[in-house]
Symmetry: C2
Subunit: 418 residues, 2 copies
């Protein structure tokens, strides 16, 4: 069979499985999740051995240390995946929830009931734990999933998928509910984009390049995730002790993720007091700052920032800095350069704080907290399938509910329309 | 200016207006809606005169009687538009609603707040009342809108838009919130598809051809509306009196709309009793039936139905008929031929009814009621912008809430992530 035929056959099986899974009882889905968690632990030697082979190939292929680290599985990472599945099992089942039901004057009873989307495609990069996390969320929300992981993790993903399918079978659920694309050929992704008769949504998880490719080329509806050019704005009324902690955390705690801050805005009124201290903290940790002219008058040792810097998602130990005249200039800057991901203000002024929450159009708007909290787990939604940066369907961290849709159910006793 | 430059200038103005409108007080939006309603009545002679010119051009251009009827405005239709605006004004403002807010163990207070989408594009066909309906819904939900109506209604749409803009201005809201594309050139639509930096969503309202074009070609996210190959399934346990009324209403009350039924499924066990009576009712009203072999054994005078008939959205006084062996065959037929719009079962059997509500994947699933109820007004949602047949974002009739998105607001007192 050609790649296309193979994929259509997988997608067709996923669609059939989705019909069964949509009606599966919570108990059966939870049973499957817990069985899979047990199996991951039972078979960890096998998983580690296969992963070790991927690691060796990765080294041969010259993968960077950072990528090798993302690829690597350990006992504790496997324990983490199993624990994640158990937590998903413990969460409430979103399927079958009727958030609203009402009666019309003609006696029709109308309700909105939560149902699965159907078949979800996930395209992701190095980390094999995504295979298990995403499969668990899709299973719990009653969706089939077609997985396309990074080619370097192919064998690791394959054994994890096998274990998941074993668990599904044991729990009496269709094993085609979770399938990995059986080739690392890049053509498979392009074919996936055309399978809109089979897939209900495609979610890319990874770098900006991958996401843009999926958004531009897919005929399957896409939920856009990821790119974050996030700002922390230190307002003139900020508590500067809080501001230093928040700015440092938003940049330094994990610079390579989408909710890390890339840009620091500081009100002119406090810039002379705040910037030298902040620059000192960053210098100690080797974080590079790039500033506007006014910034460099205050901390002359740093590089100049240009337009590109203000638009950049560095994902690195680099941060752009701009001194703004006032609140309005800060909001305008965020409007012009932000990617509507996560934006924070540091201020003690009540009116300014409320205004910022209103004025900023982003998935997550913060007052006096680090942008790094934009995460399903941190928000208390449980595991997440990614962070949506679009406005339709889902915005911000996506938990189980975001993998569902609703349908109207209407119960009558013979009503007709006049 | 070229068409493209003109459109970009309109879209840019819409985007600026959207920022102001997003923060407009409910009171001001309602004031604008009521002023516009008054103006429509005050200026109705002027509106009717312009519409008369469109009608005359339409006749010259050989528009069908049905299309001319959709184009025509009358005193009572204008009164209807004004009344619609007043009803939208009376509805609760969706903007600013916080459906959930919670506190995390670290003290962070996290909420989801409802905000406008931004700029909405609507592409529609003949009826000028859509101009007013849609402008009202977008205004109330805090969105700017760019309207692209049918070329035959251009002058009618223009005067209605002028009146709307006058009302906005009087209420102190930006008049660029509602704009009509100032040309009937078809190129304008293709250009609209590329304005994803300005438009947040595009909603096509009209025939299947228009909708498919928008879905296939637009780079702006689309909400798909419309196409409905809806079924009524008369189960063996149906009350046949209810069944006759429901089937007749679902087909005959307004055949040219998407929630009209196109196909009738009848359990074999009751077909000999039910079909002759049903066929008699339809014959009296000149509704053409096209049936399967088993149907034609019972009512031999009707035409044969082929595969295409079962897939067709006739939008006419035609209905396909199929005798099914049992419930499962009915559900399979709907799965294979349905468009996931509105599907109905007629049955008195409790377990069969519950099963149907579960088994059918469609925007609206009915027990013992006509599919014709799939409508924002009939559901009690107020006016509607269309009926979504997709699964992401909105499904079924779209009211005010469906024209919004949410953002997370997070209030802290210095929290950083470990």
């Amino acid at each position: 069979m050609s790649i296309r035929e193979n994929l259509i056959s997988q997608a067709g099986a996923a669609k059939q499985a989705a019909r069964k899974l949509a009606k599966a009882a919570s108990g059966d889905k939870n049973k499957a999740l817990n069985i899979i968690a047990d199996k991951l632990i039972d078979r960890q030697d096998e998983i580690l051995k296969v992963n070790q082979e991927d690691m060796e190939k990765g080294k041969e292929n010259g993968l960077s240390r950072a990528l090798l680290d993302r690829l690597k599985l350990t006992e504790s990472r496997i324990e983490g995946m199993a624990q994640g599945l158990r937590e998903v099992a413990a969460q409430e089942d979103p399927i079958g929830e009727v958030p609203h039901m009402w009666k019309r004057p003609n006696g029709l009873q109308i309700g909105k009931i939560r149902v699965p989307l159907g078949v979800i495609g996930i395209i992701y990069e190095a980390r094999p734990n995504v295979t298990v996390d995403v499969a668990g969320l899709c299973l719990k929300s009653g969706n089939s999933v077609i997985l396309r992981g990074g080619s370097n993790a192919f064998n690791s993903n394959q054994i994890l998928t096998n274990i998941i399918q074993d668990g599904l079978r044991e729990a009496g659920l269709p094993e085609e509910s979770v399938q990995l694309i059986g080739t690392t050929d890049r053509k498979a992704v392009d074919i996936l984009f055309t399978l809109n008769d089979y897939l209900d949504v495609l979610i890319p998880r990874g770098g900006a390049g991958l996401i843009q490719k999926v958004v531009n080329e897919s005929k399957v509806p896409v939920i856009e995730t990821g790119v974050g050019n996030c700002h922390v704005y230190v307002n003139k009324d900020a508590d500067l002790t809080k501001a230093k902690k928040i700015v440092f955390n938003a940049k330094y705690s994990r610079p390579a993720v989408c909710n890390a801050a890339e840009s620091l805005l500081v009100d002119a009124e406090i810039a002379e007091k705040f910037l030298p201290e902040m620059a000192g903290i960053f210098k100690e940790k080797d974080v590079e700052l790039r500033g506007c002219e006014k910034t460099r008058k205050i901390v002359p040792q740093i590089k100049e920032a240009d337009e590109e810097d203000y638009a950049a998602e560095y994902l690195d130990y680099i941060m752009s800095v701009k001194v703004v005249e006032n609140y309005d200039e800060a909001v305008e800057h965020i409007y012009n350069y932000g990617t509507k991901h996560s934006e924070a203000i540091v201020t003690e002024n009540y009116t300014t704080a409320r205004k910022f929450l209103d004025d900023i159009d982003a998935a997550a708007v913060y007052v006096n907290a680090s942008t790094r909290f934009t995460d399903g787990g941190q928000f208390g939604l449980g595991a997440e399938t990614g962070i949506s940066t679009q406005k339709l369907h889902a915005r911000g961290p996506m938990g189980l509910k975001e993998l569902t849709t609703t349908k109207y159910i209407i119960m009558g006793d013979g009503q007709i329309r006049e």
